[in-house]
């Protein structure tokens, strides 16, 4: 599942995800009729609109089929399928196996090391931001552990890591003062680490933080988890 944001803006993240999956020997399919999982209207409270979109997603990804394995580079979309649909459709059971991308690599495929080196002249100092939807999925620090095995990156811990980036989907536009206030707080914590690269597993968080960073003309590089793995050869 590509996700709306990667479909609209961040195709490279989708490409990196596929490349990594293929590198570990997966056969990847991309149902071109996929659109959205229905999370934006679900979070906004319009569950009728959300159900319409979600029902389509159930069919496209064959979520009733236990043999179907869905991988998506976003804990937000994965959480929608696993937790949100249970609220939208109380009488329906998810039978397919749905994974957030990092979760698939580490928990499903048992990958604990990523042999490879970032193609940079100098090691780069980086921080990882845990996307909030990983909480419900109990992802913990699995992304950081795997990324920690990539050569050429000096990882530094992000203080107050439990704090959200402030995106929150439509919240970012309906509550811009609060949303950007939270985002600036996150970036202030990033700044204390002296990081040159900010990595996360969700383009929602990164789109918001990137928007703030580029307005400040910050040189901090913003990368998705999948892009770092794909770049490491």
């Amino acid at each position: 599942m590509l996700t709306c944001l990667c479909d609209a803006f961040y195709g490279e993240v989708g490409i990196a995800t596929v490349e990594v999956l293929q590198r570990i020997g997966c056969r990847v399919e991309f149902p071109a009729e996929q659109t959205c999982c229905g999370q934006p209207p679900f979070n906004a409270g319009d569950w009728a609109a959300s159900r319409a979109v979600a029902e389509r997603c159930r069919t496209v990804f064959e979520l009733d089929d236990p043999a179907s394995v869905v991988v998506t580079p976003s804990s937000s979309c994965a959480a929608m399928l696993r937790e949100g649909y249970a609220m939208l459709f109380p009488d329906w059971t998810l039978r397919a196996q749905v994974f957030e991308f990092g979760e698939f690599l580490v928990r499903h495929r048992g990958i604990v090391e990523w042999p490879g080196r970032l193609r940079r002249e100098e090691p780069i100092r980086a921080v990882y931001h845990r996307a909030c939807h990983g909480r419900g999925l109990h992802l913990g620090d699995l992304h950081e552990r795997l990324l920690g095995t990539v050569e050429g990156i000096e990882w530094v811990g992000l203080p107050q890591a439990e704090q959200c980036c402030g995106f929150g989907g439509a919240f970012s536009a309906t509550h811009p003062k609060v949303s950007t206030g939270i985002g600036m707080e996150k970036l202030a914590q990033v700044a204390t680490t002296g990081a040159e690269m900010l990595v996360s597993g969700d383009m929602g968080c990164l789109m918001h933080l990137k928007g703030l960073l580029s307005r400040q003309h910050s040189p901090i590089e913003v990368r998705h988890f999948a892009q770092v793995l794909a770049e490491a050869q």
Partner: protein, 454 residues
């Protein structure tokens, strides 16, 4: 686009308030994590157990309330029932009129239930003088303010604010030293305890099996307020029960750790009733007023688990939105994530359901909750309920979005038009772009890449 109330409040908020709230909250988050880590071998199972116990209380609430009444009455504690705020205030006033002179001082220990019913203004209206004896609540009272946090009522103020208030009230010479400020308040409050005819407190827990009232605190003012005056009145929500004192250690540790990052509060009081003939001190009468005020309705509805809450405030401290807007933005005595559910559950979503939308749904609240209240799930349900009731302005035409997402062709056409659409003026785009660059297509299109390679 109309500005949501919480957002509007944040826009008008002074920067110093945000700094005060953020600094104190972050410190409390850190001390909570370290304390609970030391206090419990397995904090996860402790939280699960606490949630189970509170659910059992809610399931057996009627029986446990009657059991408490029987046991407490046997201890000569007088039990009263109040279906709403007005009734609770009336009971307090009746007791005060019977035992105290007009104009008498009522010493108040910190209590959210009495905030909820607006007891201070009821007492003042009847000619009594309620005086808050918790340091933070005292500052709130002399400033004519409201507490902005369940546990730390003046988290929105700094020491300079307090210093100025104390000089204004003539409590002593100007000082910004917290210890000296505390001593000034202490000197003033000692007289309050000596003179008060009635002491009013809340209750952290009420034990059904023994009929005892449990209070926790750090300042000692609860001890004075509940023992020095002739009469002690405790006002408590009906959900504050625990089945027995066997559950108490778990809850005392969870509450202290979650609220203030302490292994245990400085004081823990188990109040067993009025003074006995041979006791050297203590009140002559002890009353418990059980407050419903909408709780029975909540108990029967979709947000039942919110009544597990033990008022630790951990969800406020960790909440990124709360840290930006402070407690007053929530327009209710209960603020932060717990308030965003409890306030509309008690008052109705038409009155204050907008709070549910002032959240990023990050889930940090549920992660820290000592009784595992699924707050994010409830916020989503409140949003659904509000939308179905036709409440709140819809800023985004989701029906149209669903039509777009209902067809591959329309969806792809929409994506193709996006680079143009993002240049068109829109309210949402304007709000986004005030401090953030608009997102743009970066690198290759996934769909084109996929098509070309297959």
């Amino acid at each position: 686009m109309s500005v949501p109330k919480v957002e509007a409040f944040a826009r008008a908020l002074r920067g110093e308030v945000v700094t005060s709230v953020r600094t104190a909250s972050a410190a409390k988050v850190a001390s909570r994590v370290s304390t609970l880590g030391e206090a419990f071998d397995d904090i996860e199972s402790a939280r699960t157990e606490a949630a189970r116990i509170k659910d059992e209380v809610l399931d057996r609430l009627r029986d446990l309330l009657l059991e408490f009444e029987a046991r407490a009455t046997a201890r000569r504690i007088q039990v009263h029932w109040a279906s709403d705020a007005a009734e609770a205030n009336r009971v307090v006033l009746e007791i005060c009129r019977r035992v105290a002179e007009p104009g008498a001082i009522v010493a108040k220990a910190k209590s959210m239930a009495t905030e909820e019913i607006g007891l201070n203004s009821a007492l003042e209206g009847a000619g009594f003088r309620p005086i808050e004896t918790d340091l933070g609540e005292y500052v709130v009272q002399i400033d004519g303010d409201h507490p902005s946090h369940i546990v730390t009522p003046i988290i929105h103020k700094n020491r300079v604010d307090v210093a100025r208030s104390f000089v204004r009230e003539g409590l002593g010479p100007y000082t910004e030293d917290p210890a000296e400020l505390t001593m000034q308040a202490r000197a003033k409050l000692r007289d309050v305890f000596r003179q008060a005819s009635v002491g009013v407190s809340g209750a952290n827990f009420l034990i059904a099996e023994t009929g005892r009232i449990v209070l926790v605190e750090n300042e000692g003012n609860n001890r004075f307020s509940t023992t020095a005056p002739r009469v002690h009145i405790a006002v408590a929500g009906i959900e504050k029960l625990l089945p027995s004192e066997r559950e108490l250690p778990l809850f005392l540790k969870l509450l202290a750790g979650s609220a203030t990052g302490q292994r245990l509060t400085t004081y823990v009081h188990l109040i067993s009733g009025p003074r006995e003939a041979n006791d050297p001190d203590g009140p002559e009468e002890v009353h418990v007023i059980f407050l419903d005020n909408g709780r029975t309705r909540v108990l029967e509805g979709r947000y039942r688990e919110i009544l597990r809450c033990i008022r630790c405030g951990a969800c406020l401290n960790v909440c990124p939105v709360y840290r930006q807007v402070s407690g007053h933005a929530y327009r209710h005595v209960y603020s932060g994530p717990i308030g965003a559910v409890l306030a509309p559950a008690l008052e109705g979503i038409d009155a204050i359901g907008d709070l549910a939308k002032a959240s990023t749904l990050c889930g940090a609240c549920e992660e820290v909750c000592p009784v595992k209240i699924p707050i994010p799930r409830m916020l989503l349900e409140l949003r659904d309920e509000a939308a179905r009731a036709g409440l709140g302005k819809r800023d985004i035409p989701w029906k149209r979005f669903a039509t777009l997402a209902g067809s591959e062709l329309l969806w792809r056409a929409g994506l193709t038009l996006l680079p143009i659409a993002r240049k068109l003026p829109s309210a949402l785009g304007r709000e986004w772009a005030q401090k953030r660059e608009m997102p743009m297509r970066e690198g290759r299109s996934f769909r084109e890449w996929w098509r070309e390679r297959s």
